[in-house]
């Protein structure tokens, strides 16, 4: 090992081990009394947004978790756990009125901002109002736009009224970080110095940023929760997945996060000494997104035949090394609303051929089917520079050629494909992984409601252009139910309908493979937080 830092820790470790040796034996490692050591987290995208209310991507959120706190968060098991709030409001504890319209939140006392200012209900009020401030570039206003009449009833209590009952708002608030009123009021929130030198209530405080390279956070001694046990966290930007893996392998990175370890490296990674590899089911569902308004793909029989022709097992085993689990739903298996009784996919090219014959798709020149002059031909697009997805595309291409369907690859850079091409449904089909949940909430109104089609002036992300009256009704119903058992029934029915219509061709629930250096404790993957850096406050090195 050439790394100076590791040597030093090894020396420290020796001393500590000698002191503990007589009594501990094989006991669980315990966190140190005071913050010690540092962790270098390798990310393949650069975190650049530090105002947690502004548009950011997953890597940004990974940093936010360490600088800021939400009122409550969702733990790996899907439970809401209070953070800046004293308790999570429910119908039972009276925090939410029976009509779902009046919310009251009791706040933790004694929490402070990193600059020493006490955190109060005024900060919560300010945060919610800032999100709805028309001149502020807020990331998302889903749910927040329903909030009215915010009142601070005590320094540690706040109440508001909802314009309409909206159950997913609990989950949305679990991902909404509180920002300090004393630093953001009276200045332009879009360009405030706060945005590049953030001050939060989280376990770590802002250290320094070297653009294009790294971000350093240091332990906040005044943190109100458990931890932190590390002196420093460094988020290191390593743009290439191969290089990221290599640096993890050579020990320059302690943890590979988000994009983690690409499937082809996993087998080798597992043999590395001193490295622990975690395969975590993620909330992202990999699927083929058909444009339901495009020629052949508008025909349900075609979608069914295409789905039957997919050799899912070969795809998962060969291309993804058996890591992800096949699925029929858009929800992750771990969700409380997951429907486990959906009809299972069967690889059956003969049945697919028969189905197409029956539906009037006849084989024409070159073996390609056609019906009423429409050829069974379409393009499939995904982000370029993703060799694993490109392999999957080529496998599907071969599967579908066997039933007389021609698929052509038309891949594009991220900035192009996710632009109007995706948002305005200009694609024919796309291969994509989407996290359909809002936090841990199964509400998919933006994805499947007929009023959410961007190409038709809608306001959501129903880029498939899926229109189904029953689903529309169920979505409205589910968003206003607060009883989990009733909601579960609603969303299970929605899953059944989406599976029946094949609004998406589900392939599998993605597996995120992340690496952690041996001796680093406390890593706890959480698919409800969009970044496994959510609890670095609990991480520590074995002494």
């Amino acid at each position: 090992m050439v790394d100076f830092r590791i040597d030093r820790r090894a020396v420290l470790g020796l001393g500590a081990a000698a002191a503990l040796a007589p009594c501990t034996g094989q006991a669980q490692p315990r966190p140190p009394e005071r913050p010690r050591g540092q962790v270098i987290v390798g990310l393949s995208q650069e975190p650049t947004v530090f105002n947690p209310l502004m548009p950011g991507i997953e890597v940004d959120q990974g940093v936010w978790w360490n600088l800021f706190s939400p009122l409550w968060y969702t733990d790996p098991e899907g439970n809401l756990v209070p953070d800046l709030a004293r308790e999570v409001p429910t119908l039972d504890n009276g925090g939410i009125s029976t009509d779902g319209l009046t919310w009251t939140v009791k706040l933790r006392q004694g929490a402070t901002w990193h600059d020493g200012t006490p955190f109060t209900a005024e900060d919560v009020k300010f945060t919610l109002e800032l999100i709805n401030n028309p001149s502020f570039r807020a990331r998302s206003r889903i749910g927040h736009q329903l909030v009215r009449d915010i009142r601070v009833t005590a320094p540690d209590e706040i109440t508001w009224r909802m314009e309409a009952a909206y159950a997913p708002y609990l989950s949305i608030l679990s991902l909404t970080f509180m920002v300090p009123r004393h630093l953001l009021s009276g200045v332009d929130p879009n360009t405030a110095t706060f945005n590049s030198a953030p001050v939060g209530t989280g376990p770590f405080r802002w250290g320094a940023r070297q653009p294009g390279d790294n971000i350093t956070l240091t332990a906040s001694p005044a943190y109100h929760g458990n931890g932190p046990f590390l002196e420093r966290v460094v988020f290191k930007y390593i743009p290439d997945l191969t290089v990221l893996y290599t640096q993890f392998r050579t020990g320059q990175v302690d943890h590979t996060s988000i994009q983690g370890i690409s499937p082809p490296f996993v087998r080798e990674a597992r043999t590395l000494r001193g490295r622990v590899i975690h395969v975590n089911p993620s909330a992202s569902i990999e699927h083929i997104a058909p444009n339901l308004e495009f020629g052949p793909l508008a025909d349900k029989a075609v979608r069914q035949a295409l789905y039957m022709a997919v050799n899912k097992r070969a795809l998962i085993d060969a291309i993804y090394y058996g890591l992800p689990a096949p699925t029929e739903s858009f929800l992750p298996r771990q969700s409380w609303a997951f429907n486990a009784d959906l009809p299972a996919h069967k690889h059956d090219p003969a049945a697919a051929n028969a189905l197409l014959d029956q539906a009037g798709w006849r084989r024409g020149a070159g073996g390609v089917r056609e019906k009423n002059g429409v050829k069974l031909e379409f393009t499939n697009s995904t982000t370029t520079g993703n060799p694993v997805r490109e392999q999957a595309q080529q496998l599907l291409m071969q599967d579908w050629r066997g039933i007389g369907a021609t698929m052509r690859v038309q891949n594009m850079p991220a900035a192009v494909i996710w632009g109007e091409f995706w948002q305005q449904s200009r694609f024919q089909s796309v291969m994509v992984g989407v996290n359909f949940t809002l936090g841990a909430d199964p509400d998919v109104t933006p994805r499947f409601h007929s009023s959410a089609i961007g190409a038709k002036g809608g306001r959501g992300q129903n880029n498939y252009q899926f229109v189904n009256a029953e689903v529309d009704g169920l979505l409205v119903q589910g968003a206003t139910q607060f009883n989990q058992a009733q909601r579960r029934a609603t969303y299970q029915r929605i899953q059944a309908l989406v599976r029946e219509e094949l609004a998406i061709l589900p392939l599998f629930q993605s597996a995120a493979v992340e690496g952690v250096k041996e001796g680093l404790n406390g890593y706890r993957p959480n698919q409800n937080t969009s970044s496994n850096c959510w609890n670095i406050r609990e991480w520590f090195w074995t002494a």
Partner: protein
């Protein structure tokens, strides 16, 4: 060392041999890539996932199979077609354009020369990637558009070198003499100035083939390249990066193919340089 200088016959032989080696390799590669696929029992796009990552010389596949079980030899040949076509054509178009602009600007001077060279400057102001990206936005991906993209980013340096040479040569005795004798502009450009500027042009051309073949892989990398399943050496090499330790031949083979093709072309260019340089021909 002095042996080489004192033995002209040996020197000529060696010079000839390097150029001949280059030419022969290019001919062989070209023939192999364009005729080879007809002789192979394997197709370059047929997937066989049960039989992937077969190492070279281990079975029916002479050079092994790739990450989807496709025959590497077949893919190398088909990929070679694409890469060679891109490399040679883009170079030729770029050179023609560069020589034309450079010769006219250098010979004419004046406002036309200045305008042309400032145009060259303007295009050079755009970093290569920016030009590639900008132009790619205006055409749909495909073989022809990639050739045009690469050619459009590789003519400016040639234009500059030619302009510099021509301008400097124009002042020299033989051009002045020709002018005094009443030769026309075009005649002077074609017969006196261009041959004299040939040496640096050929050197630049050899570098530009290398560049064109390499740029093809970067274009693929940026997302405007040859789309799968069609192989090119560039996209094969790009995709093989992640298998550098587990299946090194996937990266080594196209890497070698690129290196071999480009090196050969450089040797050939070097030989051509000797043959075309009038001062050397005179000896």
């Amino acid at each position: 060392m002095s042996l080489a200088l004192s033995a002209p016959a040996f020197r000529r032989f060696r010079r000839h041999r390097l150029a001949a080696f280059g030419a022969a390799t290019i001919v062989l590669l070209t023939l192999g890539c364009f005729l080879g696929p007809f002789l192979l029992p394997f197709d370059d796009t047929t997937i066989d996932v049960m039989n992937r990552f077969a190492p070279p010389l281990s079975g029916a596949h002479v050079l092994g199979t790739d990450e989807l079980g496709r025959d590497m030899l077949a893919r190398l040949m088909m990929g070679g077609r694409v890469s060679l076509i891109v490399g040679f054509t883009a170079m030729a178009i770029g050179m023609a354009l560069g020589i034309l602009v450079g010769a006219v600007a250098g010979f004419h001077g004046g406002w036309l020369g200045a305008a042309l060279m400032r145009f060259v400057d303007a295009v050079l102001c755009f970093p290569t990637i920016f030009l590639l990206l900008a132009l790619a936005a205006l055409v749909s991906p495909g073989l022809l558009s990639i050739i045009i993209l690469i050619a459009a980013t590789s003519w400016m340096d040639v234009a500059r070198i030619v302009e510099g040479q021509v301008k400097s040569l124009r002042e020299r005795d033989f051009a002045v003499a020709a002018q005094v004798l009443g030769a026309s502009d075009a005649r002077i450009i074609v017969h006196e100035l261009v041959p004299n500027a040939v040496a640096p042009i050929v050197v630049a051309a050899t570098l530009n083939v290398a560049r064109a073949i390499l740029l093809e892989s970067y274009v693929s990398f940026l997302g405007y390249g040859i789309q799968p399943p069609v192989p090119s050496w560039g996209n094969m090499l790009n995709n093989a990066q992640i298998y550098l330790t587990s299946a090194p031949w996937l990266a080594i083979l196209p890497g070698l193919a690129i290196t071999l093709a480009v090196t050969s072309f450089n040797f050939l260019g070097d030989g051509l340089r000797d043959a075309l340089d009038p001062r050397m021909r005179a000896r």
